[in-house]
Every structure is written in structure tokens, then in C-alpha cells.
Amino acid sequence: MPATRAATARRALREHRTLVVGCLLLGGMVLFALVAPLFGNPYATPLDGLTESGQSHGVLSHGHLLGTDELGRDMLARSAEGARTSLEIAFLANITSVGLGVLVGMAAAFYRGWIEQLLMRITDVFLSIPTVISGLALAAVIGTTVIGIVAVVTALYWAWAARIVFGEALALRRRTFVEAAIASGVPGRTVIRRHILPNLSSLILTLAALNGAAVVSIGSGLSYLGAGIQPPTPEWGNMLAEGAGALDYSPHLLLVPLACVVLTVFSFVLIGEALARRGALSLRRSWLDI
């Protein structure tokens, strides 16, 4: 019955509003990135992109919805192109860092012994390294391409996932159905794939969402500090750096990329929090419910 279905949908929307808002925000940013070519060439530097005195155009002026930057380039086109770069880094680095962490955590928990000792001590070493400083150092060595930054972020964040997955997988390893499978002679890799991994899925999903927020922050942070994606390639972090000194005369140069970063991080946090409340990380109440 339509009325009942509508009521159910409304109730579901209320119950999952955090998740819905997060998904809408993230979806919006992904869409923004996908339609980037519609906003024009982010590298074009038309002479009328600046005022006669060399000032950038502000928001909603001279046909530029989000204004122009200090070289006269369209901020909307650059923000959208920047979304492509930033989200590409975020998604790739998220997959690689969580993926590596899950593999290490599960292997250490399942095989125990020297494998656990080796893998978890390596994990401890990586956990003890300060993120930003080591990120800057790694970026200087690995390079400032998208792949390079993905590698840097992966190196910085896989250990967090490994540590959390290890704890959860260890508990699963002691569960009866896992021990029974092992006792029945099921190969270890099959046990991991068929019995442990599926039971970690909600945890991994939650981890990925929360990790996404961190990855977006550190990816942009590295570019902001000059160790990430280099201009003229637009990326929110390097756009923030370009606009940082212009806050008092062209605030849109800072606020536009800042809004992009904040909204994306916020979307990941909302999704992560929503999932966490329903999964393994839900023992505490979310700060969003306070």
C-alpha cells in the first residue's frame, strides 16, 4: 500500500539520515568530478580572466560562477578538475591502504606465530611514524604524481587498518565455526576467504569510509605543503596553497577549494559514522548523535 510504503521509506530515511546525507554529499562530489569537462578548460588563462589591475574576478562576476584564480583561470573548472584528481587519489589510496591493511591483519591473526610477530611489529613501526613529516619525506622520494601520492598515502595508512582488522580477525579465529573448519581440514586460505573475510565486511566498509576522510585530508595536505600534486594540475590541496595568502583580498581562492575538501571529508565521516553505529565499531555512541 502506497501510504504504508511511503511511511516505511520516511522512517527508514529518518533512521538512516546520516548515511543518506553522507552518500548524497559524496555522490554530489563524484558527479561534480564526472561533469568537470562541462565547465571548460581548467588551464586556460584568458587575458580577461583578471581585472585591468591584475586582480582575480570574484564569485559570480564576469561570467565566472566561482570567480577566477590569480592567473585568471576559472575556479569552477579548476575545482571540478581538482575534484577528479583529489577523489581519484582518495578512492585509489583508500582501496590500497585498507586492502593492504586487511591482508596483513588477517594473515597475522590467522597464522599467528612468527608471521604474526613479524607483521604486527612492522605494523607497530608504521603506526609510530608521524604522518605529515614522513609523508613529506616519502613524497620527495617517490614523486608527486597521482600514483606517487597514492603510494605515499598507502604507506601512511595501511597500518591503522591492519591493527584494527587484526584484533577483529583474532576474535573470529577463536570462534567455533572457524576452528571447526580448520579441524575439518579446510585449507587456511579458504577459511580466510569463506569464513573470516565475510564476517569482517561491515568492519572493512566502516574502516574504508573513515579512512576515506583521512585520505582526502592527507592527500590535500601534502599538496598544500607542496609535496603532492604540482600546479598547474588542479588539486584541492594545491589550490588551497595558492589561495592561502589571498584571504583578505580574494577570499574565494581559499574558500572554494576549502569547501570542496570539507564537504568531501564530511561525507566520508557521515557514512563512516552511520556504518559504525551498526557495525563492529558501534560500541560507542557517535558524536553526531550528541
Partner: protein, 567 residues
């Protein structure tokens, strides 16, 4: 190429303060009255240790007016970066150059109000004999070092030999190669400079290998100032931070960690009655945005680095900051170097010319603000005057495309290295502009030191040079950048015609005839499109308008010796 790893490119890219214009040196500047409302917060007047009229000041002090000041007070100058050295043979970066030029040392001659060299630590102008090859220089007898010892002729000889010592690797050595025996000493083939001798304690005799009109200009530079042998030998490599000179201020403290140094008035300075200030303080390592805030608050008095384009935009957009802006005309230009050995297509002159015609300098100028003026010729705008024959490149995309076609439409890919502002903006704009003629530019950014290192190792395709003249003649820029073997000729540009004309110009005392020769040199370099010439640099800085008798030299920096603050 010379054997000196530190080049004038390094020097002049950073000097900023080391900049001139003959007619401009020493005569730029302003003197503004102190607004009442800012007097109370003016750091410059915060701690006068003494006050009152210091007595009459000689009218012979070279440069802007110096009389009528009030003794006491302190001035704080803040810089982006620490000086590379405070040793006059080594210092070249903005901070170091100004300290050795205007605080710690006094050269034999200094540019006067009309831009001509006038006696400073010398007693009179040199007597020039032997067809322009011998200079006899009388020295003042009242010049002392900060340790109280009298300066004698041997101190100059020691200082000049030091500049030429291969071990020291002074960037300035090539400036005095025309002294007899200088090249041999720089090459490590002689231990002493045979072309210089002390006739007595207060007379120097210099013999040149050939007449050289620029030698007198060299004598106006701080690297030609005397240094005390006993102090240098005592401190060795640490002389830079224990420096003893003969200038108006002496080094009181150097705090590397605290990023500041303090200079106090030297009461034994030979220009009696000067300086007026008790102290000058240098600070460094401060972001320009913060510097502007400090200046506005009255926490500092002078921003020693020129304002970068972003700071200029900020200043132009803020009426409250505009009053701090200070412009000093000078001879300075900027161009893009192209390494023909790394990018074969750049060997084709038509391709290089196409790059020049495809460069929209008006757009660059708009982004740079007032920091530079669109200018498509090799030498600074005001350096040749009416003698100029070369018609500067402008923006003509059709002509650029035609030249590329004429060259066979070669594939041109180059890596363009940029350092600090405004170079990244220049690189990004040129990347777009040159794409229109099929030139693919890959941008890379690194520190100034790193890029200089790459240049010396021949690992760069294209990079920016910013040249600030310290001599009021184009011979300066030619000898460094365009003459075969020039100290900063990192593209290995070589033209027998340029070499021949420049050598002739050095021997030509008549300015008009000399400029005519130099105009031919510019025509040759310009026609060759030896670089992509993009702009004439303007020196815009910021200072507290409350400072009294503030004058700035395009060559040396702030004239601290005649600066005072309201009591």
C-alpha cells in the same frame, strides 16, 4: 664557463637589493613625515640610547642628502631569508648583500646622487694614466676597522686577493679579471695579485691588462672593501658571523636560531656625524604575509625583500597598506634561458624566435602586477636609452606559427624549472601560451639552490633568470650572461660578434659611442633569440613612511647611515 660554481645568476637572482641604475643609484628614495598616530607605535623610535644633534655632516658624503638627522633609535628590517654570508667576498643574497653594502663595509667609491662614482673611503677620484690601464688611488687616512685599527693599502690588496683565491670561490672574482695577474690568481697559478701594489700605506696602484671602463664601477662594490687579515685568520670560515668591517655599523650579535642579528652604530666611522641610528636589527625567515601585518602594526620598519606579486596584490587592494609601498627605479630584466644542447629543436633560431613572438608579455605583466613591465628585449628598458636599435619582441601568434612552420614544425618538449614566486606563475602562463605553437612544457618546481645546482650540472631545459645591474652599463649583463665564458652564461651562448663588440665597448670611454656598440650587442642577442625576453623588473618594497630621510639604492639597499627616526 668559468670554474666558479656560484654564479652571478645565483647572485643576481637573489640580490634583489643588489641592484642599480646609474642614474638611479642612490637617488631614489623618499622622505616622509611621521604621522602622529603612528609615532607612538613606531618600533624605530622605541629605544633611543642617546639623542641630539650629532654635529655637522660633510656635504661630500656620496649619495642622497645626509645632514640634519637626530641621533638615536632603532630600525628593524625583516627579510624572507637569511643572508648567504656577511663576508664581503661571498655575500650576494638580498640580506647578506645589503648588510655588507650599507652596514658593515664602505667601498672606496660610491654612486653619487647623479649616479657617478664619488670618493667614499678613497680620498679622491683615482688618477688614471698609461692609456687607461693604470689607476692610482689615494686612500683616506681616517678610515678604521670596527676593532679600531687603521685601514691601510695592504688591507685592500689582501681583500682583493681573497676574492680571487680559488678556495674561496667568490662569485665576484670575474668582476676584477682585468687587473693584471687576476686571472692567473683565480686559476691558482699565482699566489699574489701582481697588478696591485701599495705605494705607501695610503696609496694603491692598480695596473689593468687593458683599459676597462667598468673597473671604476667595481671599486664601488662591497666585495672590493678592505678586510682585516688578522680577523679573517682568527675566525677562518666563521669570519662571516664575526665580521669586522669599516662601515657605519658593526655587528653586535648574530643569533642563527632566533633568526636575527643586531648592528650597532660604529662611532669611529670616517664620515663624522654618521650614522644617526643606535641600532639596526635584521630578522629573517618570516612569511611576507606576516611581514606586512608586522609592518602595519609597527613591529618592523622595513621589508627588505621586494614585494612579491601576491604581496603587491594585497598592498594594492588595501588602502591601509598602500602608504607603506616604496618603488625604486633600477636596471633589471628577466628572461627565460633555453638550453640548446638538451633540446635539439632549440638550436633552430626560428624556433627560439617563435617562442619570443608567442609570449604574451601583457598577460604576464597583468599577473605580475607592478613587479615587472612587459619588455621583450635583452637589456633593461633604461639601460641603452636612445642608442637602442633592437625592436623588442611583442605578442604575435601568427608570426610565431609561421616561424615554427618555417623551421619544419619540429616537436618541442622541454622541462621548465621554476623556484619561488613569481616564477611558478610565469611557468604556468608560458606553458599555456607556448602550447599554441605546439611547444609542450613540463613544469617542475624546486628550491633556488636545487635549481642552481641542476643548472650547473646541465640538467635543465629552461629556467628563469632575473638580472639586477650593479654597474650602470650593459657591459655588466653581457659580461655575466652573454659573453663567451661569462660567469653566469649557463646556456653557453657564444657569439664572436658579441665578444668583439663588448671588448671594444670596455675600451671606449665615451658613453655615447659605447652605448652604440652595446646596442649592436643587444641587436645580435635579440635577433639570435638567445633567450625568451619577458620583462623589465621593477623594485617595489615596503617601509614605514614614518622613517625620516629614508633613501634606497638600487645597488646597495637602504641607506642606513643617513636614516633617522623621530625622537
Amino acid at each position: 664557463m668559468t670554474e666558479h660554481p656560484i654564479t652571478r645568476k645565483t647572485l643576481l637572482g637573489g640580490v634583489g637589493a643588489g641592484v642599480l641604475g646609474v642614474t638611479l643609484a642612490g637617488c631614489g628614495g623618499s622622505s616622509a613625515k611621521l604621522p602622529d598616530e603612528s609615532a607612538a607605535t613606531n618600533a624605530a623610535s622605541s629605544t633611543p640610547s642617546s639623542s641630539g644633534n650629532p654635529g655637522s655632516v660633510s656635504a661630500k658624503v656620496p649619495g642622497p642628502p645626509s645632514a640634519g638627522g637626530t641621533r638615536g633609535g632603532r630600525v628593524i628590517n625583516v627579510f624572507d631569508e637569511e643572508g648567504n654570508s656577511y663576508d664581503p667576498a661571498i655575500g650576494y643574497s638580498t640580506t647578506g648583500w645589503e648588510a655588507i653594502s650599507e652596514l658593515l663595509f664602505a667601498a672606496l667609491y660610491a654612486y653619487g646622487a647623479d649616479g657617478s662614482p664619488e670618493p667614499n673611503a678613497a680620498a679622491a677620484m683615482p688618477k688614471i694614466t698609461h692609456a687607461g690601464k693604470r689607476y692610482t688611488i689615494p686612500l683616506r687616512t681616517d678610515v678604521t676597522f670596527h676593532n679600531g685599527r687603521k685601514v691601510v693599502a695592504d688591507d685592500y690588496i689582501y681583500a682583493w686577493e681573497r676574492v680571487l683565491t680559488p678556495k674561496l670561490q667568490s662569485w665576484a672574482s670575474s668582476y676584477i679579471y682585468t687587473i693584471k695577474g687576476a686571472k692567473a690568481m683565480a686559476a691558482g697559478k699565482a699566489k699574489h695579485l701582481s697588478g696591485v701594489r701599495a705605494l705607501d700605506d695610503h696609496t694603491l696602484e692598480v695596473t689593468l691588462t687593458q683599459p676597462d671602463v667598468t673597473f671604476l664601477y667595481a671599486l664601488t662594490q662591497p666585495f672590493m672593501a678592505p678586510v682585516p687579515r688578522e680577523v679573517v685568520e682568527k675566525w677562518g670560515d666563521r669570519f662571516s658571523t664575526h665580521v669586522i668591517g669599516n662601515g657605519p655599523f658593526k655587528l653586535a650579535s648574530y643569533d642563527s636560531q632566533g633568526q636575527k642579528m643586531v648592528f650597532t652604530r660604529y662611532d669611529g666611522y670616517f664620515w663624522k656625524g654618521l650614522p644617526y641610528l643606535d641600532e639596526v636589527e635584521y630578522r629573517w625567515g618570516v612569511d611576507q604575509g606576516v611581514q606586512l601585518l608586522e609592518l602595519r602594526r609597527g613591529d618592523v620598519d622595513i621589508l627588505g625583500y621586494g614585494l612579491n606579486p601576491q604581496s603587491l596584490t594585497k598592498v594594492n587592494a588595501s588602502p591601509a597598506l598602500k602608504k607603506f609601498e616604496f618603488t625604486q627605479p633600477l636596471f633589471a630584466s628577466r628572461w627565460i634561458n633555453l638550453d640548446k644542447t638538451r633540446v635539439p629543436a632549440l638550436k633552430i633560431r626560428a624556433v627560439r624566435q617563435a617562442l619570443n613572438w608567442a609570449t604574451d608579455r601583457e598577460q604576464l605583466h597583468r599577473v605580475m602586477g607592478d613587479e615587472a613591465t612587459a619588455w621583450g628585449a635583452p637589456f633593461p628598458i633604461d639601460l641603452l636609452g636612445d642608442a637602442r636599435t633592437f625592436k623588442p619582441y611583442t605578442y604575435d601568434l601568427d608570426k610565431a606559427k609561421a616561424l615554427m612552420k618555417q623551421a619544419g614544425s619540429p616537436k618541442v618538449e622541454l622541462t621548465f624549472w621554476v623556484t619561488i614566486a613569481p616564477e611558478p606563475a610565469i611557468g604556468q602562463l608560458l606553458q599555456q601560451q607556448w602550447k599554441a605553437i605546439g611547444v609542450d612544457v613540463k613544469l617542475k618546481q624546486a628550491s633556488t639552490d636545487a635549481v642552481n645546482d641542476l643548472i650547473l650540472k646541465n640538467k635543465t631545459d629552461a629556467w628563469v633568470s632575473s638580472y639586477y645591474a650593479i654597474y650602470p652599463t650593459a657591459i655588466d649583463v653581457i659580461s655575466q650572461y652573454w659573453e663567451t665564458g661569462g660567469a653566469a652564461n649557463d646556456t653557453d651562448y657564444s657569439s664572436p660578434l658579441v665578444d668583439r663588440l663588448t671588448a671594444k665597448a670596455r675600451r671606449t670611454p665615451d658613453k655615447a659611442k659605447r652605448d652604440a656598440l652595446l646596442a649592436q650587442v643587444e641587436q645580435t642577442i635579440g635577433d639570435d633569440a638567445a633567450g625568451v625576453f619577458i620583462g623589465n623588473i621593477n623594485w617595489i618594497m615596503a617601509r614605514d613612511p614614518a622613517l625620516e630621510n629614508f633613501h634606497y639604492s638600487g645597488v646597495y639597499g637602504t641607506y642606513y647611515d643617513r636614516l633617522w627616526v623621530k625622537a
